[in-house]
Symmetry: C2
Subunit: 313 residues, 2 copies
C-alpha cells in the first residue's frame, strides 16, 4: 500500500471511544488538516473540542460531513442508516465514506442505498476497543497493532480502498480484507459471542437467591471479574449488534450451547479424561494469541497487583 | 484477630502457583523460621530451592510434614486425600493442617478421616490466582487484598482457627468464614462456572469449520482473548474441581443455560428492549467490583498497550 494516507478534511460522526480514538490517532499521525466532528449530545461535542481530538464541532451530521474528503461514521450500528440518509445530499464528489461498525452485512444494507454517485463507500471495522465509552475514553494508541478489516463491495473504487487502507495503517492498524458475510461470521465468534456470554453470566450471578450479590463481588477474583469487563461495554452498541447480526450470532450460540451440554454431561458422569483433554487443548490457543501479539503474556493481563488495595496508592 | 501469625516450621505440600506464592509471602512477612516443601516432581523441588521460597525440599510429603507446626496442602483437590493419608502418622501433636483447595466439602470428606487426635484441621481457600502454574509462577503479592475463606468444621479448635486467620492476614489476605457447603456454591458461580465457560467457548471456536483458527487468533482482541486467559489455567486442577464440586457446578450451569436460552430467544425475536435492559444492569456489577478493590478500573485491565507490538519492547 503506497497510497497517500492524508486527507484535507476528515469528518467523524459519533464521538465516543472509537470516534475519539480515531481523532487522537489522526492528530498523532498528522493525517488531516481539519477534523470536523458530530455527536447527538451537546455535552459530548463540547467535550471533544475541549479534549482537542476534533477541530470543529457541527450541530448536525450533514454539516460535519459537508466538504469532508473522508467521512467516518462511528455511531452504534443501528444509527448508521439514518446518518447516511441525512448526510447523503451533502457529500462531496470523490469523498470516501466508511464506518467502524462491528457488523458489515447490515451496514451495507442500510448505508449502501444512500451513497451518491461519485462518492466511495468502503465499509470498515477496526477490531479494537475497551469496555469504556464516551469522548473521554478514546486514546491515540487504541488501534496500534490491532487489525482493521475492510469489506469493500463488488465494484468498489480501488484507489479509494487503497487510500483508506493506508489511512488505517497510518493510524497504527494492520489492514485485512474480507467478504462482508464472512466478516460477520468471524466477528460473531471472536467478539459477539464472548460479549453475550459475559453479559449472560453476570446476569445469572445477579439473579441468584442462594449467593448474595455482595459475595459475588467480594470473591470475584476467582475468575468472575474477567467477565464483568466485557459485560460493562456500551449497551446500545451491543443491542444494535445483536439485532443486526442475528443469524451468525444464533449459529455460534447454538454451537456453544451444544458444547456446553456435552461438558455438563462429562461433569455429571465424572468423565475426568474428557474434561482434562478439553482443558488441555484450549491452552494452545492462548499461546498462539500471545505469540501473535494480540495479548500480553503477563499473568492476570499484567493487572497492577496493587489495585487490590486502592488505599495504598 | 490478635493471634500470633508466626510458626516455627511450615510445610508446603505442592509447590506450584499457590504453594510458591505462599512460600514467598511467608518469607516476605518473616512468618516462619523454616519452610520445608514437597512436590512430586524432582525438577519442581529443585527449582523451589533455587528460587528460595522453601528452605528444604523433602523427597516425600511425610518427611516434609514431620515436625511442622503448620502444614499447607497446595496440591490439586484430587490429590488431597492421598497426601493426608500419607502424612497422617507423621503429624506433630498440636500442628495445624490446612489446604488451599477450591472446593471444601470434598476436601473435608477426603482429609477429615486422616487427621489424628490433637492435630487441628482447618480447611481454607485463598481466592487468588493467575492463569500460570508451576514453581516459577508464584509471587509474594498474590494474596494481597484478596479474600481467604476458612471453613472450620464443627468443634474446630478456636485458637487454631484464629492462628491460621492471623497467618493468612500476615500473608496479605482478608479472612472470611463460611459453611463448607455454602463456600462450594459461592465458588461455583464466582470461579468454577467462569472457568468452565471460558474453556467451553475456546473449545467451540477451535472446532469451527467456517472460521479458521488463524482468524480467531488474529481478531481475538474483539473480546475472545479475555476468555483464553482463564482457559489456560492448570487442566489437572480444573478436572479435579469439576469432579469434586459436581452438584453446585451443575446447578449453576443449569441456570446459566436457562438464561442463555432466554437471551437467544430475545435475539431471535429482535427484543431490543430486553437486550438493552440486560446489558445495562450488568454494568453496575463491574462498578461494584472496582469499588470493592477486586479489579482495576483501568481500561482493558490496564494491559500494556504496547504488548500489541512485542518487537517494540
Amino acid at each position: 500500500m503506497s497510497a497517500d494516507p492524508h486527507f484535507k478534511r476528515v469528518a467523524i460522526i459519533g464521538l465516543g471511544l472509537i470516534g475519539g480514538s480515531l481523532g487522537h490517532a489522526i492528530k498523532r499521525g498528522k493525517l488531516a488538516e481539519h477534523i470536523s466532528g458530530y455527536a447527538t449530545s451537546d455535552a459530548t461535542r463540547k467535550r471533544a473540542i475541549e479534549i482537542g481530538f476534533i477541530d470543529s464541532a457541527a450541530t448536525t451530521a450533514a454539516e460535519a460531513a459537508k466538504d469532508a474528503d473522508l467521512v467516518v461514521i462511528c455511531t452504534p450500528v443501528g444509527a448508521l442508516g439514518a446518518v447516511a440518509a441525512e448526510i447523503e445530499p451533502h457529500l462531496k464528489k470523490g469523498a470516501i465514506v466508511t464506518d467502524a461498525g462491528s457488523v458489515k452485512m447490515a451496514v451495507i444494507r442500510d448505508v449502501g442505498p444512500h451513497v451518491p454517485d461519485g462518492v466511495h463507500f468502503v465499509p470498515g471495522h477496526p477490531i479494537a476497543g475497551t469496555e469504556q465509552s464516551g469522548p473521554d475514553a478514546g486514546f491515540a494508541e487504541l488501534f496500534d497493532g490491532r487489525w482493521c478489516i475492510l469489506t469493500p463491495v463488488p465494484g468498489a473504487d480501488r484507489d479509494a480502498v487503497a487510500k483508506l487502507a493506508a489511512f488505517w495503517e497510518a493510524c497504527g492498524s494492520k489492514v485485512d480484507y474480507m467478504e462482508p458475510r464472512h466478516h460477520d461470521l468471524v466477528l460473531a465468534i471472536v467478539s459477539h459471542l464472548p460479549h453475550l456470554i459475559a453479559y449472560n453470566i453476570v446476569g445469572t450471578a445477579d439473579d441468584l437467591e442462594t449467593v448474595t450479590e455482595s459475595e459475588v463481588i467480594k470473591y470475584s477474583a476467582g475468575g468472575f471479574r474477567d467477565f464483568t469487563r466485557l459485560a460493562s461495554s456500551d449497551p446500545t452498541m451491543w443491542r444494535d449488534i445483536c439485532l443486526n447480526n442475528k443469524d451468525a450470532i444464533l449459529e455460534m450460540l447454538g454451537r456453544f450451547s451444544e458444547d456446553l451440554s456435552a461438558m455438563q454431561r462429562m461433569i455429571r458422569w465424572g468423565d475426568g479424561e474428557g474434561l482434562f483433554n478439553l482443558f488441555t487443548r484450549t491452552r494452545a490457543v492462548r499461546r498462539s494469541i500471545i505469540e501473535a501479539g494480540q495479548d500480553t503474556a503477563a499473568p492476570n493481563f499484567g493487572r497492577d497487583p496493587t489495585h487490590a488495595t486502592p488505599e495504598k496508592k
